[in-house]
C-alpha cells in the first residue's frame, strides 16, 4: 500500500517535471543563451533578437505541432516540405495568376494540405506502411505537383495580406505580428493537445495501440486524423512562409523539416511512447532558435557553424532527456508501427 502511494507520488513528480518544469527550464535556457550571446556579439541580448527568436520559432511551432503528434504515435512526417511548397504555390498561383479570391485560395491550399495528410494517414493506418517511407514518397509527389503548377511561369507572388501578416513588416503594438502569433499558436496548440478529446486520444494511441483498441477507440480514425492535422499544420505553415518570403518556391519548407523534428525530440517527446508535451516542444524550439542566432553571430566560417550546431543539438538531446543513456526498465509498448 505504501509502495503504491510512493509510486503515485513519484509519477506525479515526474509528470510535473514534464509539463511544468521542463518547459520553464527550456524557456529560461533560451533567454540565457541570448544573454550569453554577449560573449560573441556586443549587440546581444536585444529586443530585436528576442523578436526574431519568437518569429522564427512561431513558424517552427506550427510545423512541429503535427510533427509532434505523429512522433508520439511512432511515426515521422517527412512530407512537411512538400506540403508547405504545395500550399504556398496554390495560394500564390490562385491569387496572382488566376486572379482568384484570397479566401478561396487559402481554403483551397488548406483543403489540399488536409487531403494529402489524410492520404498519408490512410496509407499508414490501413495499409500499415512504414510512416517515414509513406511521407517521404508523398513529399516527393507534392513537390512534383508544386513544380507542375508553378512550372514555366514567373515565380508566383504571395498575396499582400500574407506578406503584411508574416514578413514582419506588419506590427501590432510595435511588435512584429509573427512574434505575437507565437503565443497564439502556443495557446491553441496547448488546448488541442492537452485539453481536447482528440489530444487525449492521440496520447492514448501513442502510449499503446493495443490499449487504445481494447478501450474501444476508433484507432484507425485517430491515426488518420493525426496525419491529417500534421498535413493541415504544414499547409498553414506554407501560407505563413509564402507571406514571410514573398514568393512561392519549391525550397520554402526544406529548411524547416529537421528543426521541427529536433524541437520535438529536444522537448522530450519519446518516439512512439505517447509521452511528450507541446509546451516543451515549443520552448525547445525557442532554445534551438536562440542557439542558431548566437552561432550565426560568431565569426567562424559557415562549415564550422554547421559542426557547432550539430554538436549543440546532440548535447541538448542528451542532456534534456531522461530516456537516453539509461536502459528502460519497462517495455513501454509493443507498437507495431
Amino acid at each position: 500500500m505504501s509502495d503504491q502511494l510512493l509510486i503515485e507520488a513519484q509519477q506525479r513528480r515526474s509528470s510535473r517535471m514534464q509539463t511544468i518544469y521542463r518547459p520553464l527550464i527550456l524557456a529560461a535556457l533560451a533567454l540565457l543563451v541570448l544573454v550569453a550571446g554577449r560573449l560573441v556579439s556586443e549587440s546581444l541580448p536585444s529586443w530585436i533578437a528576442v523578436q526574431t527568436v519568437l518569429t522564427l520559432t512561431m513558424f517552427l511551432s506550427v510545423i512541429a505541432f503535427g510533427q509532434g503528434l505523429v512522433m508520439l504515435t511512432g511515426g515521422l512526417d517527412l512530407s512537411v516540405p512538400g506540403v508547405i511548397a504545395l500550399s504556398a504555390s496554390i495560394v500564390a498561383v490562385w491569387v496572382s495568376f488566376m486572379d482568384g479570391s484570397f479566401i478561396v485560395g487559402v481554403l483551397l491550399a488548406l483543403g489540399v494540405s488536409l487531403l494529402f495528410g489524410i492520404v498519408n494517414g490512410l496509407l499508414v493506418s490501413i495499409l500499415k506502411a512504414p510512416a517515414f517511407i509513406v511521407t517521404l514518397a508523398m513529399g516527393a509527389v507534392l513537390e512534383g505537383f508544386s513544380l507542375y503548377i508553378t512550372y514555366g511561369r514567373k515565380s508566383p507572388e504571395s498575396p499582400e495580406l500574407l506578406v503584411t501578416l508574416f514578413s514582419g513588416s506588419g506590427k501590432l503594438f510595435g511588435i512584429a505580428i509573427p512574434a505575437l502569433l507565437f503565443f497564439v499558436v502556443g495557446i491553441i496548440g496547448f488546448i488541442i493537445q492537452a485539453r481536447s478529446r482528440f489530444g487525449r486520444n492521440a496520447y492514448l494511441l501513442g502510449s499503446s495501440l493495443e490499449a487504445s483498441r481494447i478501450a474501444g477507440q476508433p484507432v484507425n480514425f485517430i491515426q488518420i486524423s493525426i496525419y491529417a492535422v500534421s498535413g493541415f499544420g504544414s499547409g498553414i505553415a506554407g501560407l505563413m512562409l509564402v507571406g514571410f518570403s514573398g514568393n512561392a518556391q519549391l525550397s520554402l519548407g526544406t529548411e524547416w523539416l529537421m528543426p521541427s523534428i529536433a524541437a520535438v525530440l529536444v522537448g522530450g517527446t519519446i518516439i512512439g511512447s505517447g509521452r511528450g508535451f507541446w509546451q516543451s516542444t515549443i520552448t525547445a524550439g525557442l532554445m534551438l532558435t536562440a542557439i542558431t542566432i548566437v552561432i550565426q553571430s560568431t565569426g567562424v566560417s559557415s562549415g564550422w557553424k554547421s559542426v557547432l550546431y550539430g554538436v549543440v543539438v546532440l548535447v541538448a538531446l542528451l542532456s534534456t532527456r531522461s530516456d537516453i543513456g539509461r536502459r528502460r526498465r519497462k517495455k513501454v509498448s509493443q507498437d507495431p508501427l
Binding site: 556579439s41 526574431t52 522564427l56 512562409l241 518556391q249 520554402l252 550565426q296 553571430s297 562549415g303
Partner: protein
C-alpha cells in the same frame, strides 16, 4: 515554271513530313517542328533555296549529320528545378536554333535534367545514341559527368556546357565564371561585386557574407575573389558573420533575419544569388544598407527605387550564346580553331546605371523589365552584347518572335571570346601548355607563363 512548281511541292511534302516526325519524336519539339516547317514553306514560296549544299551537307556545313538525315540533331537541356534562370537560359538556347538561318539546318530537341548526376549521365548517353550532332547542356558537376561527355565527344558529338563549367577537355565551356564584367578590367564576379560594395560603403564598415552552395567550385571562385577584394581595397573591414545561402532566396532571408538579430549594426551584405531574401529581411528590419546580389528582377526594381546595391551575376543569355557556339562548331568544323574556353561578359548594375527595357528585343544598356512584366526571380540579363538576337518572347516561350533572325558568330569572333589562359586552371583544373599553376592577383589558383 513547271520545275519551280515541283520543287515547291516537294518542299511542302518534306516540311510536313518533318513536322510529323517532330511530333512523333518528342512533344516538346512539336511546336518547334511546325514552326520550322512553316518557315521553310515560306522560304520556298519566296523562291529562295532550301538547305543549300556545296559539299552535299545540309546548309553546306562542315560534316554530314551523324544520323544521316537532312538536318543536324541538336539537344538543348536545362536543369528541372523550377528555377526562372534555368527556364530563361534553355528557352534562349532553343529560340536560337529556331531562328533563320539555323532553322533550316537544325532539328531542335529540348530536354530537362533532374538534379542528380546519375540521371544526367543516362540522359546524355541516350542523346548520343539518338544521333545527336550537338548537345548544349547545363552540367550538374564539374567532374562527375566527364566520362559520359568524353564518350559523346568520341562518338562525334559537339558538347557545349553553359554557366557552370566541366573539366573534360573535349567539352566546350561557355561561362561567365572567369570573365570580366562589361566595363571592368578585373575578372571575377565576386571581386567586382565586393569592390562595388566597398565603394558604396565608403571604404569602411563591417559586413555579412553569404556563400552560395558552399563547397562548389563556382561558390569558391566568387568567395575567394571577394575576400581578395577586401584584402586589397579595405583591409580593415570585418566580416561579422557568414552563412550558406544555398543560392536560395528563402534560405537567404532566414539567415539574414538571424544575422540581423545579433548584429544590427552591420553596414553592408555580400549576398549573391537569392538576394531578394537578403533585401526582404532588411526591409522587415527597417534597414537600408548596401547589398550585392545577382540579377533578379526584384533586386533590379529595388535599385530602380533607389536601394543602394550592386546587381551582378550569371546571365541566362549564356544558354543562347552556348547554342550559337555549338552551331558554330557544326558549321565550321571542330578543326576551325574555335576555342574550347569561351568567356561571356556580364553586367554590373547599380542604382545609377539601372535602366528599364522598354522593348521586347535587345536595347543597349537596359537591364530591368518594367514592373509586372516578369516574375521576381526572372532576370533582364537575357540581353547580352553577344546575343543581340535575344528577346523577352524567346526567353519566356523558347520560340523566337516572327521576323527575328540569328546573328551567327564568325570564327574570328569566337576566337576573340577565348578565356585568358591565366584563368584556365579555375575551370579546367589544368593549365595550357607553356603555363604552370600559380596564384592570380584575385586570390585564386590560376596559371602563369613558365
Amino acid at each position: 515554271m513547271k520545275r519551280n512548281w515541283k520543287v515547291a511541292a516537294l518542299a511542302v511534302i518534306a516540311a510536313s513530313t518533318l513536322a510529323l516526325s517532330a511530333c512523333g519524336g518528342s512533344s516538346d519539339t512539336a511546336d518547334a517542328g511546325a514552326e520550322t516547317a512553316a518557315a521553310s514553306e515560306a522560304a520556298t514560296e519566296a523562291g529562295t533555296d532550301a538547305p543549300a549544299s556545296d559539299n552535299g551537307n545540309p546548309c553546306g556545313w562542315a560534316a554530314p549529320p551523324r544520323a544521316g538525315g537532312d538536318k543536324y540533331v541538336v539537344y538543348m537541356s536545362s536543369l528541372n528545378i523550377g528555377n526562372a534562370w534555368q527556364e530563361e537560359a534553355v528557352n534562349l538556347g532553343s529560340a536560337e536554333a529556331l531562328m533563320s538561318p539555323y532553322s533550316d539546318c537544325v532539328e531542335l530537341r529540348t530536354e530537362r535534367t533532374e538534379p542528380d548526376p546519375a540521371s544526367q549521365i543516362s540522359q546524355i548517353q541516350s542523346m548520343t545514341a539518338a544521333g545527336a550532332d550537338a548537345i548544349v547542356t547545363f552540367a550538374l558537376s564539374p567532374t562527375a559527368i566527364n566520362a559520359t561527355f568524353k564518350e559523346a565527344c568520341d562518338a562525334g558529338v559537339t558538347v557545349v556546357i553553359y554557366d557552370a563549367t566541366v573539366t573534360e577537355p573535349c567539352a566546350y565551356n561557355v561561362s561567365y565564371i572567369t570573365a570580366k564584367p562589361i566595363g571592368s578590367d578585373i575578372p571575377f564576379m565576386g571581386y567586382n561585386a565586393m569592390a562595388a560594395l566597398i565603394e558604396m560603403m565608403g571604404g569602411a564598415g563591417d559586413i555579412f557574407v553569404a556563400h552560395g552552395v558552399a563547397g562548389t567550385s563556382v561558390d569558391n571562385v566568387h568567395y575567394l575573389s571577394a575576400l581578395a577584394a577586401i584584402e586589397q581595397l579595405a583591409p580593415d573591414m570585418n566580416i561579422l558573420t557568414e552563412w550558406d545561402g544555398n543560392w536560395d532566396s528563402a534560405q537567404q532571408q532566414k539567415e539574414t533575419t538571424k544575422a540581423l538579430a545579433s548584429n544590427p549594426d552591420v553596414v553592408g551584405i555580400f549576398c549573391g544569388y537569392g538576394e531578394s531574401g537578403c533585401v526582404k529581411a532588411l526591409k522587415a528590419a527597417n534597414k537600408t544598407i548596401p547589398v550585392t546580389g545577382e540579377t533578379s528582377q526584384y533586386f533590379r526594381e529595388q535599385l530602380l527605387a533607389g536601394w543602394p546595391g550592386v546587381s551582378i551575376g550569371s546571365p541566362p543569355a549564356q544558354g543562347g550564346i552556348a547554342m550559337k557556339i555549338a552551331l558554330g562548331v557544326l558549321e565550321f568544323g571542330p578543326d576551325a580553331g574555335i576555342p574550347h574556353d569561351i568567356e561571356v561578359p556580364f553586367k554590373v548594375v547599380t542604382k545609377d546605371t539601372v535602366k528599364v527595357c522598354e522593348e521586347d528585343t535587345y536595347t543597349e544598356g537596359c537591364n530591368v523589365f518594367p514592373a509586372g512584366v516578369v516574375g521576381d526571380e526572372n532576370t533582364a540579363d537575357i540581353f547580352n552584347p553577344l546575343l543581340p538576337e535575344s528577346s523577352l518572347t524567346s526567353a519566356k516561350t523558347g520560340v523566337p518572335p516572327a521576323g527575328l533572325v540569328a546573328v551567327p558568330f564568325t570564327v574570328e569572333e569566337m576566337i576573340s571570346f577565348e578565356q585568358d589562359p591565366s584563368r584556365r586552371y579555375i575551370t579546367r583544373e589544368a593549365c595550357p601548355e607553356g603555363w604552370t599553376q600559380g596564384k592570380l592577383e584575385q586570390g585564386l589558383d590560376g596559371c602563369v607563363q613558365s
